[in-house]
Each structure stands twice: as structure tokens, then as C-alpha cells.
């Protein structure tokens, strides 16, 4: 990093800054469950797991994070701000006509955003393709994709579970933020679906940073990894 960019880089912020950054978007201290269910997973990924930062956002060998569940992206924008990808000044006017920050993120508009999401069931299949592409180019970087438990309703995800398991894509990690929001929810059933297709699975407390870090950094040779991060039930 050059001295100039070091001087221009915004100050690094901590986990404790995230509620304030989110309140810049919500206008108060209350945040929707959909936005906050992902907060700890996102923070641990960008703070402890992913090898990517504002200075390496275009590096072909960077780790990729795909937010497949594009709904409620306030926590995502807050973490990207805290990590210096986007300026804090963007947050208050989010979702306005001139803002690059929408209710669903757009990779063309937001530095550090790797995929444009919003329609459910696309990010995970995209991540399978990217994992294949990194592997074909001999790159050792990883792809981590975040889906919601209700997002797994979409059948396209199950096509991806099967193929990634069959091909043994060990550079792919799916993190399922499980707040029990799927209408036809069978508690505890998610990990088993992945294991059945040959995945390595871990079920952790989605608020426990140490447990999340351990699960999200695991890389099992020849098998993709799923981390089910359990958080408070959305409708409880």
C-alpha cells in the first residue's frame, strides 16, 4: 500500500461501530431481524476469515464473498464501511435514487460487493461456478457464499448442493444463516441435506465469533463445507 492510499484510507472501525453505522441507514437504533441475523457472520468473515480488503478488491487471487441473500443488506453495508470498502457518507441516503446502495446490493455500484443479488437462489450457483473457475486457474483462494435458511426453499440451491458435493469443491463454503424463517421449516434439517451430498458440515451459534471463525476457516480436502449459523428465530 502506498503512503498516499494509506493516508486516504478511512479509519478502521471495530465491531462496536456497527450499530451506529446501521443506524445511519435505519434512522434509529432498531434494525430488522433480516438485517441483523447476518451481522456476526459478516463481521467474522471480513475481520478474521476472508483474505480480501479494499486494496485487493481486484486481485484475481482474493477470497470471494457472495451475499446470495441480498435482502436486508444493512449489516453488509455497515461491515463494508467498517472495513474501508465504502465511505460512511454513503449510508444516510441509502436506497435513494442517486445512492449506490440499494435495498439489494449491486456489484457494479458498490466497491467490494462481489455479486448483485436480491432474487433468491442465484448466489450459491454462481459461487459454484466461481469455485470451478478459481480451481481451473490454479488459484488457491476460496469462495464463501451466504444464504438464508428460507432461501434454501429455491430449488436452484439444491442443484448446487448436488454438483458441488459430486465434484468435491473444497474451495467452496456455504454459510446458512438460520433464523428459522422458512415457512415449511424442519428444525435441524439443513446440515443433513448437505451431508447427504458429501459435504463437510458444522452447526454453530451464529453469534459466537470464536465458533464462527473456527467453522468458517475449516477447509476439508475434497469436500465443500457448509456452516449452519443458528441465530434467534425470526418469528419468535
Amino acid at each position: 500500500m502506498t503512503l498516499l492510499t494509506a493516508l486516504e484510507a478511512p479509519p478502521e472501525r471495530s465491531y462496536d461501530d456497527l450499530p451506529r453505522l446501521m443506524s445511519l441507514m435505519t434512522g434509529d437504533e432498531k434494525h430488522s431481524a433480516a438485517a441483523t441475523s447476518t451481522l456476526d457472520v459478516l463481521w467474522v468473515l471480513y475481520d478474521r476469515v476472508l483474505r480480501v480488503g479494499p486494496g485487493s478488491a481486484d486481485d484475481p487471487a482474493r477470497d470471494r464473498f457472495y451475499l446470495s441473500k441480498g435482502h436486508g443488506p444493512m449489516a453488509y453495508y455497515a461491515v463494508l464501511t467498517a472495513k474501508g470498502f465504502i465511505p460512511e457518507a454513503w449510508l444516510p441516503r441509502w436506497a435513494s435514487y442517486d445512492s449506490p446502495l440499494g435495498h439489494h446490493p449491486d456489484r457494479v455500484l458498490v466497491p467490494g460487493v462481489e455479486i448483485s443479488s436480491g432474487s433468491l437462489g442465484h448466489g450459491f450457483p454462481l459461487a459454484v461456478g466461481t469455485a470451478l473457475g478459481l480451481r481451473a486457474q490454479g488459484l488457491t483462494s476460496r469462495v464463501v457464499v451466504l444464504v438464508g435458511d428460507a432461501e434454501l426453499d429455491e430449488g436452484s440451491n439444491h442443484e448446487a448442493v448436488e454438483l458441488a458435493g459430486a465434484l468435491g469443491l473444497d474451495n467452496l463454503t456455504v454459510v446458512v444463516v438460520d433464523n428459522g424463517s422458512s415457512t415449511h421449516n424442519r428444525p435441524g434439517a439443513i446440515a443433513g441435506r448437505f451431508v447427504h451430498e458429501g459435504w463437510h458440515a458444522a452447526v454453530v451459534d451464529g453469534r459466537d465469533h470464536t465458533a464462527l471463525e473456527r467453522a468458517l476457516t475449516a477447509r476439508i480436502e475434497g469436500r465443500p463445507t457448509v456452516v449452519v449459523a443458528e441465530v434467534e428465530e425470526k418469528w419468535a
Binding site: 484475481p60 450457483p125 454462481l126 461456478g129 466461481t130 469455485a131 473457475g133 448436488e162 465434484l167
Partner: protein, 303 residues
């Protein structure tokens, strides 16, 4: 003349061999042609199984990783079944890729409606920025694919069995002027050309040939236009290019006849040739339509 689909498969395999950035993703279909290249390059030739939503997004995900994907299955499953994946995986992510749909409107006539996709090109035409290749000859299939893969844009290549006697160069954005006349201008798209040439024999009309239909070459259409009558002959849904003609001639009072596949489901099996005739796209059908459209005009049948 070689078979267009086999030529596609051979060219795709050659491109995988020639260029390390090229990946071929398919969903069982045409797998009989890909065995050799898949065994040599299992990292860049991937059969995803019968999973078309995944097929398209795996292609887009490869593009996000910096590769140039060729994504292939029948046009019906590629464009119609996985349309949102095409819209969001490529255009919305702002990455490029080459989609190759085979089968077209009636290659698999005996398979019935499930395997007939006259809506592939019109659906793709709702998305901005795609180059739409409609090759009418195996040589054009190879040229389109090589040109498409060499670039970085979004390209759809429609590969069908029916082909014309002669191949023409592939030049996106430029139609070929095959005949100049003083009457109507007939635009033949892809494999309809031979029937158009036969149907217009002896008529004082101009004939343009389009083996790439988007971008639409409005400039050549205007330059050639002798009388204010345009006839489109397209091998997918009739009228797909009508709005482009309307835009090109917005300042010219004109008449348009748009021939192509009719939208109603005819519920017939049989052969592609029979379906071409049923939709009035054989030479006799095109001639009948021209006679009715140009009745009383000075550019009627000569002699």
C-alpha cells in the same frame, strides 16, 4: 456440408484446447461429442447434469472468476427454463459469456412442444447488450462461435440443423446485400435464406441476409430500400424484428410483412421440414405471402 451442431461441438472443443481461459459448461445435451475434450480438461469442461438453472449460473460464476464460458444445452432449456439466470447471471452482474442453444424452433419436431423453442431469440431480445447469432450454415456456426469466444461480450448462438447452400462471413452489425432490386426489400434471417432466394426468384426485389440479427443493421436496410416495403423472414417467432424495422424507418411511410414462426401451438410431430411448411416458411409459403403483400405492385412476378 457438415452438421451444424457437430461443428459447434468440434469448434468448442478446439477452443478449449487453444485457450486456457475458455471453459465449456453443458447439461448432458451434446455430451456424446464432448467425451474426449472433457477427459483431457476436466477442470474446464463440466457437465452439470440435468440442472439448467445451475448450468447458466455456473457459466456466469466462471465469468466472475475471469474465465470465458461457453454454456450449452437445447435452446428451450437454456433460454426459456433458465431465463432469469441469464438476465441476472450475466447482464446484471455485468459479465460476458457465450450461450449456445441448439434445436431452434423445430429441429426436434417429433419431440413436440417441450423441445421446440421459437421464443428463444425474442426472449433474448428483451435483454440489452446481447449479440444474437443466427447462423444459416455450419461454417457460419464455427465463425460465430470463434468470434463470440474471442470477445468479452454477451453472445447467444442459435444452432439449428437446417442450413443454406452457401455460407457468408459473420460480421455483427452488418447484413449482406445479396440482390438489389427496385421493389421491396426482403430480409432473410439465418436458415431461411435458401427458401427466400427461391421464393423471390424472378421478382424485382432486394434481398438482405442476416446471420447476426442483433445488432440490427438499420443502416444497410435504409441504404438498400428502393420502395417502402419491407419483408422480414425469421426462423423464430414472427415479428421479432418488426420494432427494429419500425425504428429504422420511423421517418418513412412504409409497409411491413413479418414472416416467421406463428405463436400458436400447432400440436404436430413429424419433421422439421413439415413444420417449416406449416408455418409458411418454405419457398412456396413465402411466395404466397409475398404475392398477397405485393399484389398490384410493379415488382410482381416478371414475365
Amino acid at each position: 456440408m457438415s452438421d451444424p451442431r457437430q461443428r459447434f461441438a468440434q469448434t468448442a472443443a478446439d477452443l478449449v484446447e487453444e485457450d486456457l481461459s475458455v471453459a465449456l459448461v453443458y447439461a448432458e445435451i451434446s455430451g456424446q461429442y464432448f467425451g474426449d475434450v472433457e477427459s483431457r480438461h476436466p477442470d474446464r469442461v463440466v457437465n452439470v447434469g440435468i440442472r439448467e438453472q445451475l448450468l447458466v449460473n455456473v457459466g456466469a460464476g466462471l465469468a466472475l472468476a475471469g474465465m470465458r464460458p461457453i454454456v450449452h444445452t437445447f435452446g428451450s432449456f437454456l433460454v426459456e427454463r433458465a431465463f432469469e439466470q441469464i438476465k441476472l447471471g450475466f447482464g446484471h452482474q455485468d459479465v460476458g459469456g457465450v450461450l449456445v442453444g441448439s434445436g431452434g424452433s423445430f429441429d426436434i419436431a417429433s419431440g413436440g412442444r417441450t423441445h421446440q423453442a421459437p421464443g428463444d431469440v425474442p426472449l433474448m431480445d428483451t435483454l440489452p447488450g446481447w449479440t444474437l447469432h443466427v447462423p444459416g450454415h455450419a461454417d457460419e456456426v464455427e465463425d460465430s462461435l470463434r468470434l463470440a469466444v474471442a470477445g468479452d461480450g454477451r453472445e447467444y448462438v442459435r444452432v439449428v440443423s437446417q442450413q443454406n447452400a452457401q455460407a457468408f462471413p459473420v460480421r455483427p452489425g452488418r447484413f449482406h446485400v445479396l440482390r438489389r432490386g427496385s421493389g421491396a426489400t426482403v430480409v432473410a434471417v439465418g436458415p431461411t435464406l435458401d427458401a427466400v432466394l427461391e421464393a423471390t426468384r424472378g421478382r424485382d426485389v432486394s434481398v438482405l441476409y442476416a446471420n447476426v440479427v442483433r445488432p440490427f443493421d438499420s443502416r444497410t436496410l435504409r441504404a438498400v430500400l428502393a420502395s417502402p416495403e419491407v419483408v422480414l423472414v425469421e426462423p423464430y417467432l414472427a415479428g421479432t424484428s418488426s420494432r427494429l424495422v419500425a425504428d429504422a424507418l420511423s421517418d418513412v411511410p412504409h409497409r411491413l410483412l413479418a414472416l416467421g414462426v406463428r405463436s400458436e401451438e400447432i400440436r404436430r410431430y413429424g419433421t422439421a421440414r413439415q413444420h417449416v411448411a406449416a408455418h409458411g416458411l418454405d419457398a412456396a409459403g413465402i411466395r404466397r405471402s409475398l404475392d398477397a403483400f405485393l399484389v398490384g405492385r410493379g415488382d410482381g412476378i416478371a414475365s
